[in-house]
């Protein structure tokens, strides 16, 4: 508000100068005169339109901000017309100034343009903006032509046109870009009904979809499509043929549903690929490509996750300063203006209320913590219970997997026995989280911390399940490996026998090859693992969708329609509508992604299934949320927890990298299926490629680089670098915290100082003000103010008693008076800094020139 003050002061200064120091400087005087005229006209306007304060304020603001431009304009006009009304003008230097004038003009034009481009950022009324815009545009149009005349007007006009086109293009491109973001409108719709917390899940889902799309492109483009186009066709090799015994049922739906039969012997699984080094006329090195794609899936995922984590961290540290404004932020930023339906609004009201209550409780009870023993006991108890649950569920899965191995050896097993593992895991995933939540009620944690615990526990459950599943799978694999040795011999002897028998009959003709369906073959553990992962993924998808259908949609229908004829209020009472479970959904998504990462090496088609899943999930869940959910009671800050999710994702990624790396590095691949068959280890494919396809020296370099003597120091170096960087970042953090503390202390100190000042005797303060050397400067401003009060403003009769009270720093309640800056320092100090009687206290100089004498303007400058 001191702006307004300045305004009035300067106006009065202007009039004073008119009276007293007329000859001082014509420029300034003119400007002031013009100002005054404007002011006057505006005053008239105000009188007419019964103005509101903010209108006036905005006008003042506007004047302040456009002052430069306007001044320039005014002055320019005056200079041009040579209509300096003042007596002390010497117009002889008009011509000599033209160069500088031109430069100035150019600057002004630039300023106007800047004004035009930032017009939308100004807090003015639209009418104001439009008129100022028109003015500025007129000015630019009028003068930029004249400016350009000196040095090629056409070029200038062309430049202008191009600039305009460029702006337009940028605008269109911006529009296009927002249109290109998939599901933006859908997510916005969800966001506008459910607030930003639910939308964060969908944004995460979309991000995941993008990552999976890239993985899908990698795998399909570099592995599956080349194999289909250029590889040997189906039926040409034993590994690409359904065995004779299975052929009868290979097309049955029940078999296909289990991913056996024709699906098992398709390009979707590891076993289908041939170990031929190059395929097709392109000499495409498929085994090599398979290996590299398998590696780069992990590489790309790691890179993307870490990059996005780093970006999130950057953003979240940018807005640090957390605990300073708890209540203020709650008060002013808790309402999400996007909320557009009454239910969401109700929930938001409730959550704001509870969060206020929470903070109040925190505030009141931050120090005392009664009955700490009971609480501790309860927390320990809850943790014991949950660990029991986790162990139990882990054992249950292990048991079931073991059992399924015995089932798989038996012949006549029912549907339940075959799908027992999936069913048990899905049931655990369904019932354990609510159980955990119930147990967590014992702990009586702060809900935010409680939520983190809950997330960690569910994550541990999923992880435990996953790992028990993996261990059981490993047992399976080892069994298969043992079996393989036996089969290998049988196959060998069968082939040899066939060869011998045909060779014995007729030695000249090559023997008719054994039909590929008849060749006895190994168990191919890689495909088994791949099938296991695909099955788990599919069953997970089904369970998720069925849960949504039953738990959300049918429940919502029931609550909605049976409510008309029920004993109690179903909507408000027991079943009510389902909430959108953000944490559960996100964890499900993360967990599922871990399965995809692990499985994609053995089942390249898995990523395709996942892409479909995410795509349908987007539409299905959007629909389910909009149709049958109510928002989560516990509001989840999207910006903060996003990195938490990413951290979980990173952990899962790392954990799923381990088993894959283990199998690649230390298990022998199957002898008769997959791109690496016949090799001792899968990574041998790299050595082979280097030896056969690269010049000798590359192989040599590679062998040097792969030397443990080089790798170990490299790892050591990396560890040391990490240690060093970590130490540096810690030091920065400490310095940061220190600075923050210092700032806080300074703030407190400042507050205290002011407090003291405000509470000291007002008389004393008056005295102090009088004794300061700037006391002289106060009188003109005081005068000015008085004048302003008397001026026919028509709006501020309240200000009369102003001065004395202002000096005491007492706030003036209500009306115009409170617009004044209460602490007297503003008045006293501002002129002091600028020197005696600066007509524009606290104003930037026109055109932002440095304070030094500016040629062409210096003549009329006041002597500071």
């Amino acid at each position: 508000e001191d702006k307004e003050e300045d305004e009035s002061e300067e106006e009065d200064n202007g009039s004073q100068q008119n009276r007293a120091s007329r000859r001082k400087n014509y420029q300034r005087k003119n400007r002031d005169g013009k100002k005054a005229r404007e002011e006057g006209s505006q005053k008239k306007d105000r009188g007419k339109t019964a103005p509101t304060k903010d209108q006036k304020e905005s006008e003042n603001k506007e004047k302040k901000t456009t002052k430069r431009g306007k001044e320039g304009e005014d002055k320019q006009k005056k200079d041009r017309k040579n209509s300096t009304s003042s007596a002390s003008s010497n117009s002889s230097d008009e011509e000599s100034l033209s160069e500088e004038e031109l430069a100035m003009l150019k600057e002004q034009v630039e300023q106007k343009k800047k004004l035009i481009s930032t017009m939308r950022n100004k807090p003015w009324r639209m009418v104001k903006k439009l008129s100022v815009l028109r003015e500025a545009q007129d000015f630019v149009e009028k003068f930029e032509g004249a400016l350009g005349k000196g040095k090629g007007k056409k070029l200038y006009a062309y430049k202008m046109m191009m600039a305009k086109k460029w702006v337009k293009f940028k605008r269109d491109f911006e529009n296009f870009k927002t249109q290109c973001i998939p599901w933006e409108m859908k997510i916005k719709e969800v966001e506008s009904h459910f607030g930003s917390s639910v939308a964060s899940y969908f944004i995460f889902l979309r991000w995941m979809y993008g990552v999976n799309l890239v993985l899908f492109g990698l795998i399909f483009g570099l592995v599956i499509i080349p194999e289909i186009l250029m590889g040997m066709p189906y039926g040409s090799l034993p590994r690409k043929t359904v065995p004779r015994a299975e052929q009868a049922t290979a097309m049955d739906f029940s078999v296909l549903w289990d991913f056996e039969g024709y699906i098992k012997y398709s390009a979707l699984f590891y076993g289908y690929y041939n170990n031929q080094r190059t395929i097709g006329w392109l000499k495409y090195r498929l085994p090599m490509a398979y290996f590299m794609v398998g590696i780069s899936v992990f590489g790309y995922s790691l890179m993307v996750v870490i990059r996005s984590m780093a970006r999130n961290a950057n953003e979240s540290t940018a807005d640090g300063d957390d605990d300073n404004f708890i209540f203020s932020w709650k008060m002013f930023t808790s309402w999400d203006y996007l909320i557009g339906n009454p239910e969401t609004a109700d929930n938001k009201f409730a959550s704001i209320t509870t969060s206020f209550k929470e903070s109040i409780v925190d505030e009141q009870e931050s120090n005392k913590d009664e009955n700490i023993h009971l609480r501790r006991f309860l927390r320990v108890l809850a943790n014991v219970l949950i660990i029991c649950c986790l162990c139990g569920s882990g054992y249950l899965i292990y048991f079931v997997v073991k059992r399924s191995q015995t089932f798989s050896k038996m012949q006549n097993v029912g549907w339940y026995e075959r799908n027992e593992v999936e069913i048990v895991m899905s049931l655990l995933g369904m019932f354990c989280p609510p159980l955990f939540e119930t147990i967590a009620a014992l702990e009586n944690y702060h809900p935010r911390i409680g939520l983190k615990w809950q997330l960690g526990r569910i994550f541990a459950l999923f992880l435990g399940n996953l790992y028990t599943f993996l261990l059981a799978l490993m047992d399976d694999v080892n069994e298969k490996l043992a079996e393989e040795d036996v089969v290998k011999n049988i196959t060998h002897w069968t082939l040899l026998g066939h060869h011998n028998s045909s060779a014995g009959n007729d030695s000249t003709v090559t023997p008719p090859p054994l039909d590929p369906a008849d060749v006895p073959r190994g168990p191919c553990w890689e495909t088994t693992v791949g099938i296991e992962f695909v099955r788990l993924t599919v069953s997970d998808i089904l369970v998720t969708y069925i849960t949504i259908l039953v738990g959300d949609f049918i429940r919502a229908c029931f609550v909605r329609f049976v409510n008309y004829c029920w004993c109690w209020d179903l909507e408000a009472g027991f079943p009510s509508y389902a909430e959108f479970d953000i944490s559960g959904n996100v964890l499900g998504l993360v967990f599922n992604q871990g399965m995809i990462w692990m499985g994609s090496f053995y089942a390249p088609g898995l990523v395709g299934i996942n892409v479909l899943r995410l795509l349908t999930s987007m539409y299905f869940q959007c629909w389910a949320v909009m149709s049958s959910n109510v928002p989560h009671e516990r509001v989840f800050k999207a910006s903060k927890s996003n990195n938490f999710y990413m951290g979980l994702l990173l952990l899962i990624l790392f954990l799923s990298l381990l088993p894959v790396a283990y199998t690649i590095m230390s298990l022998p691949p199957s002898f008769d299926c997959g791109p690496f068959s016949g090799k001792k280890r899968m990574y041998d494919v790299i050595q082979e490629t280097i030896e056969l396809d690269f010049p000798l020296f590359v192989a040599k370099i590679f062998s040097y680089v792969a030397n443990p003597g080089l790798i170990i120091p490299a790892i050591l170096l990396m560890v040391l670098t990490i240690y060093y960087l970590n130490a540096v970042s810690k030091a920065y953090q400490r310095a940061n915290a220190e600075l923050k503390k210092k700032m806080q202390m300074q703030r407190e100190e400042e507050k205290n100082k002011r407090n003291n000042k405000a509470s000291t005797n007002p008389m004393l303060q008056d005295l102090e003000d009088l004794l300061t050397p700037s006391a002289k400067t106060e009188s003109p401003s005081k005068q000015a103010e008085d004048k302003k009060t008397e001026s026919p403003d028509g709006t501020s009769p309240v200000r009369k008693p102003g001065r004395g009270e202002i000096l005491h720093g007492s706030p003036m309640a209500g009306g115009r008076g409170a617009v004044l800056p209460p602490p007297s320092q503003v008045f006293v100090t501002q002129p002091r800094t600028l020197g005696f009687r600066a007509p524009y206290p606290g104003q930037p100089r026109p055109w932002g020139h440095p304070a030094g004498p500016v040629p062409g303007r210096g003549r009329g400058q006041p002597c500071y």
Binding site: S192, G340, N341, A758
Partner: protein, 187 residues
């Protein structure tokens, strides 16, 4: 751009695009939103700049605003005369400030005005109390409300005058992590 429209002249549209954060399309869409509030009042031809004003009752019943506890304040702040009745210009202004493109400072300026219930250019304790009561639908006890207000003033009042000035408010609010996301209205 192909389709012809006769609501605005090209100059008007360009000017609006320069003064708001909207594209031509969005301005037209906003115009139709505005018109849909009262089709009998708003003409389909704005080239002559008719002085049409929609009453607050219509503005406040928009789905974007009708659940907002501060809808009346929003309408008042953005209306020309401070009574909540809006012209098309005010309407565009409101959506422009509350759009995604608007910078922090602009949003903070208007947010301050929204919470300044008594228009005295300071957020004083009575303003804060009103805000809390609107946010919680009077669920808190008076003691709790006053505690909250005191805490807010304690936290955000840098110059210790017992109320929040625009500078205090901006200093506090631009640091809020969700500030830009919260003050949004989408069309």
């Amino acid at each position: 751009m192909g389709n012809k429209q006769t609501i605005f002249t090209q100059e008007q549209l360009d000017a609006y695009q320069d003064c708001t954060f909207f594209t031509r399309k969005e301005i037209l869409r906003l115009f139709y939103r505005y018109r849909d509030l009262a089709p009998q009042l708003v003409p389909l031809d704005y080239t002559a700049k008719p002085a049409v004003t929609l009453p607050y009752e219509l503005i406040g019943s928009m789905p974007e605003l009708k659940d907002n506890p501060f809808r009346q304040r929003i309408a008042e702040v953005f209306s020309e005369r401070g009574d909540g009745n809006m012209t098309l210009d005010d309407f565009l202004d409101m959506f422009s400030v509350l759009s995604e493109m608007a910078p922090r400072d602009l949003k903070a300026y208007y947010a301050f005005k929204i919470y300044d219930f008594n228009n005295d250019d300071y957020i004083c304790k009575s303003d804060l109390e009103k805000t809390v009561n609107k946010l919680t639908r009077n669920e808190l006890t008076p003691e709790e409300v006053s505690l909250v207000c005191e805490k807010v003033i304690y936290e955000a009042d840098a110059d210790n005058d017992g109320k929040l000035s625009l500078a205090d408010f901006q200093h506090m609010i631009v640091r809020a992590p969700d500030f830009l996301r919260q003050y949004l209205l989408l069309i």
